[in-house]
Structure formats: structure tokens, C-alpha cells
């Protein structure tokens, strides 16, 4: 089975980014869950979800498999002042821990996640360690 990336992207008001090593479907956050739902119904399964801090924005990046060897990257870009996006947990229950980790490390709120709590850091921890604004002790001393 192969997925027609252009058609899927167009149906969810997104675009296909072919500049990188693997093609990526970039959609606005409003259609993030619909995109996953449509792919899931076409038999696509997920393998990863994480974030990349780009300063003004935070990208949410998911890796999915359409067939044994076909790999697709899904992306949505969130503005730094409002890091909320629909949870993919209702589509793929295994997103549970991946989204908790993204919340823990980047502070992204996944709307509709059943239990959005810290996972690797402890409950009382303040800040989001993988944000670029979170400095290591050595960096703090240097600045």
C-alpha cells in the first residue's frame, strides 16, 4: 500500500515538504488529528512522536509507517505563545507516553490526552528541559 501524500496533504489543508531526506506532510494544527485519523483508517501505524524547538515556534513531529518500508513524517508547527494541539491518543493509544514525554520536555499541551502528567522528570519539577531556553548549569555560569 502506498499513500498519495499530495492528496492527503491537500485534504487536510497542508502541503508536502520534499526538501529533506524523507517527505513530510506539514499541516496546520487544526487538522492534526483528522490527518492522523485518515491515515490510521488507511492502515498506517505510528512509531514516534517528538518535538523540535525552533525558537519562535515548536514543531511537533510524528513518524508513521504506511507499509513495511514506506516512512512518512508528519509535522505541525505551534507558536511559542500557545503550545496546544489535539492529542493523537484517540487515534493511536500508544501515543500516551510519547505525548506525555513531549509535554514533560517541551511543555506542549495535548488536548484530549487522558493523563497529561510528567513522565521522565518528577512531579514538582519546574521548566521544560529540552527547550532551548532551558540552560544547563555550565551555560548559566557562563552567561
Amino acid at each position: 500500500m502506498t499513500v498519495d501524500l499530495e492528496a492527503v496533504a491537500a485534504a487536510h489543508s497542508g502541503r508536502v515538504d520534499r526538501e529533506g531526506l524523507d517527505p513530510a506532510i506539514v499541516v496546520p494544527r487544526e487538522t492534526w488529528r483528522q490527518l492522523a485519523q485518515a491515515l490510521s483508517e488507511a492502515g498506517v501505524w505510528f512509531s514516534d512522536l517528538t518535538c523540535v524547538d525552533r525558537g519562535e515556534t515548536v514543531e511537533v513531529v510524528a513518524q508513521v509507517c504506511a507499509s513495511a518500508s514506506e516512512q512518512i513524517t508528519l509535522k505541525t508547527v505551534l507558536p511559542n505563545r500557545d503550545l496546544t494541539v489535539d492529542s493523537l491518543w484517540p487515534v493511536w493509544p500508544g501515543m500516551d507516553w510519547l505525548e506525555r514525554e513531549a509535554y514533560d520536555m517541551f511543555g506542549v499541551s495535548f488536548v484530549g490526552h487522558p493523563d497529561l502528567t510528567r513522565i521522565l522528570m518528577f512531579d514538582g519539577f519546574e521548566g521544560y528541559p529540552l527547550r532551548k531556553s532551558f540552560l544547563l548549569e555550565t551555560e548559566e555560569k557562563a552567561s
Binding site: G20, D48, V52, Q63, L98, L120, F134
Partner: protein, 379 residues
């Protein structure tokens, strides 16, 4: 009715039962490191389970952003310290794809051989711990004999049993001594197979072991995909998913071997898949030794690597499942984002589904079949 029995007093008649929460770990001999599980119990039956992780979180992804690409190799070793070569290889493949580095033929054969040897040692470790989880000391003591023999081979070339730091971008650190290779060949061809036969005799046919594993915690392929379960656990449900075949790398497409699968999906199927995988891996390592061409083992790569701007996601069949490296480069000598998709992290997240309804004594039998490594889960 028990209430009608004359010796049942008033207290028992009016007694109400309520569920209790039991904390298992993080300091518990069967918790494979520092794993913490909150179990809600009704008597001995598990109503709900909640894994609590993070006790071994060292911030490896953050640390990597402050080191050069080559320096990150030692951090990668410390992710899954039981299948080090798989981690190193996956990381090297990601960087080599990003920076378009060619790997010499002999280095690909060496990498494949090391990855399969480490799969044997990792599964031996798992075989030992499964025995411990079920209350038997014998398997772990037997399993460590072949494991140490293979570690001796690792040590001869890399100087380290567990943290080799052996792979380099564009090859491996140095070639293996031919005498060591010959001795290993003799060991793999006879002694290791004898040892595996012995393990099968000790455990695989053991009636108590079988009755504790058969039909336990069944899982279907659809459930495995929905929960993100990969590796031997996924193949035990009947899936043929194996990245060594689906997205060929190394020299797997030139070796005679087959991916081990099972259709039962229960704890016994997971056991059976891993036991057979050890034999297949030993077979592959033997073929590598026999057919490996002579030649260079390393291409020249800049000491401080600056991959071009971009991002890459590479998936790799580690001993526990799909290991993913997602590297974002901004053209500087340090990775901008260094993400590890840990197979054990995803496999353990399926634990609440697998244990609901099981008895507390079955919990360890289920948990042992997941084959987790806390260092990789917590990163």
C-alpha cells in the same frame, strides 16, 4: 454460601472488601533496575497497573546537544547498555545518511557481525532474567557462561566488555585480530549451539515453566501496532515486521537467515521467538566471519563533523525492537536536536494493558517477557 457456615463469625459476614494499591519497586529485586509499578489489587488480581519511570533519567538528549557528533557516541553506548553495538550502528547510520558518508564493504560486514553477536548476548541476559523472575536461579548462571565468552571477544578488539565505543562514522575503529575471529568461529559453530540446546533442555521443556507462560498476556497484531510495540514482541503475535528485511541495511540481504515469528501472541510465544533468534543470530555471525571480504574498515571523515543542515530519522532493528534516531542538524558541530525512539519505552507502555486482570504472581512472568532496559527507557 460461606456466610451460612457456623464457624464464620459476625465480623466476616459484615466484611467489605476494597482494592489496595501496592507499590512494586523502584527498589525491588525483580524490577530490572529502577522500575516502579503501582498495582491496584483486588486480592491477588490486578485491576489496574501504572508504570512510573524516570528514576534513571540522565538527560542524554539534552547532553547530546552540547557535545560534538563524535562525542555523542559514548552517550549512545549508555542508552541500552545490553545491546551497545545496535545503538552505535543506528546512530552512525543516521549521521552517515545526513552527512552522506560512504562505509567500506568490510566495515558493513563487521558491523553486522557485531550487531548479531550483541543480539545473542542481550537475549542471553534476558533468558537469565526470565528465569530469575519466575523464581529459578539456574538459567542466569548458565546464560552468563556463553555471554562472557562473547564479551571476551568484544574486549579483545575494543578493550571494553560493555561500553565499546567501537563504531565510527564511515566504518569501525579498527579491524579484528584474525586469530580472535577464528577462535570465535569455532566457539559459535559448536559450543554456543550446545549451550543453547542445553538451555532448551533446562527451561523450554520444563512443565512448570510452560504452564506459567502458556496463554499468558495474549496480544494481537492490531493491538501491538496500536500500542507501538515492536521487535520480538510484535513478531510473537504473527507479524513479519523485521527492519533487517523491510528496510535492508548492513549485509542482511546477503546472508541466509530467516526472521523468527510465532502466531500465538502470548508470553510463551515471546520466549520462543527470542530463543530461536539467538540461533539465527549465531548463524548470521558465522556467515559474516566466513564470507567477510578483506579491505579497509574506515573511510576518512573530518575529525569535527559538520553535517549539512537538515533532519533525518533512521529506524533500526535493535534487540528490543525499532530503535529510531531523529537528528536535526543546523550545520554546526553539535546536533540541534537529538531524539532517541526507544523500543523498550514503547514496549513497557503496553504493560498496563497486558497485566489488567492477571494475578500478581503472573505479573513478573509478563514483565520478564518484555525485556526492558531502564537506561534506554529513561534515557
Amino acid at each position: 454460601m460461606i456466610e451460612d457456615h457456623p464457624r464464620v463469625g459476625r465480623l466476616q459476614k459484615d466484611a467489605v472488601t476494597e482494592s489496595i494499591v501496592l507499590n512494586m519497586g523502584p527498589q525491588h529485586p525483580s524490577m530490572h533496575g529502577v522500575f516502579h509499578m503501582q498495582l491496584e489489587l483486588s486480592g491477588e488480581t490486578i485491576l489496574a497497573a501504572r508504570p512510573v519511570i524516570g528514576y534513571l533519567h540522565r538527560g542524554i538528549e539534552k547532553l547530546a546537544e552540547h557535545r560534538t557528533y563524535a562525542q555523542c557516541m559514548v552517550l549512545v553506548d549508555r542508552l541500552d547498555y545490553i545491546s551497545q553495538y545496535c545503538n552505535e550502528w543506528a546512530y552512525c547510520r543516521a549521521i552517515e545518511r545526513l552527512a552522506r558518508i560512504e562505509v567500506p564493504e568490510r566495515a558493513e560486514w563487521l558491523r553486522t557481525m557485531y550487531a548479531e553477536l550483541v543480539r545473542v548476548t542481550s537475549h542471553l541476559m534476558w533468558f537469565g532474567s526470565v528465569g530469575l523472575d519466575l523464581g529459578g536461579w539456574t538459567p542466569v548462571i548458565y546464560a552468563f557462561i556463553p555471554r562472557e565468552r562473547i564479551f571476551d571477544f568484544f574486549e579483545a578488539t575494543t578493550g571494553s566488555r560493555l561500553m565499546p565505543n567501537y563504531l565510527r562514522f564511515g566504518g569501525v575503529k579498527e579491524d579484528v585480530d584474525p586469530a580472535e575471529m577464528e577462535a570465535l568461529h569455532a566457539y559459535l559453530a559448536k559450543d554456543l549451539i550446545d549451550a543453547l540446546d542445553e538451555f532448551d533442555g533446562l527451561v523450554t521443556g520444563n512443565e512448570i515453566f510452560l504452564s506459567r507462560q502458556r496463554g499468558l498476556a495474549p496480544m494481537t497484531v492490531d493491538q501491538a501496532h496500536a500500542w507501538g510495540v515492536t521487535g520480538p514482541m510484535l513478531r510473537a503475535c504473527g507479524s513479519t515486521r523485521d527492519l533487517r528485511i523491510d528496510t535492508p541495511y548492513g549485509v542482511y540481504d546477503r546472508l541466509d537467515w530467516e526472521s523468527c515469528t510465532d502466531t500465538r501472541g502470548d508470553a510463551l510465544a515471546r520466549y520462543s521467538v527470542r530463543m530461536r533468534e539467538m540461533r539465527e543470530s549465531a548463524k548470521m555471525a558465522l556467515q559474516c566471519i566466513e564470507r567477510m571480504p578483506a579491505g579497509e574498515v574506515r573511510t576518512k571523515v573530518a575529525r569535527v563533523l559538520r553535517p549539512p543542515e537538515g533532519e533525518v530519522y533512521v529506524r533500526h532493528e535493535s534487540t528490543r525492537g525499532e530503535l529510531g534516531f531523529h537528528i536535526v542538524s543546523d550545520g554546526s558541530p553539535k546536533p540541534y536536536r537529538f531524539r532517541v525512539r526507544s523500543p523498550a519505552f514503547m514496549n513497557v507502555s503496553s504493560l498496563p494493558h497486558l497485566c489488567a486482570g492477571a494475578k500478581i504472581s503472573e505479573f513478573f512472568a509478563i514483565f520478564g517477557g518484555i525485556d526492558n532496559v531502564m537506561a534506554e527507557i529513561d534515557r
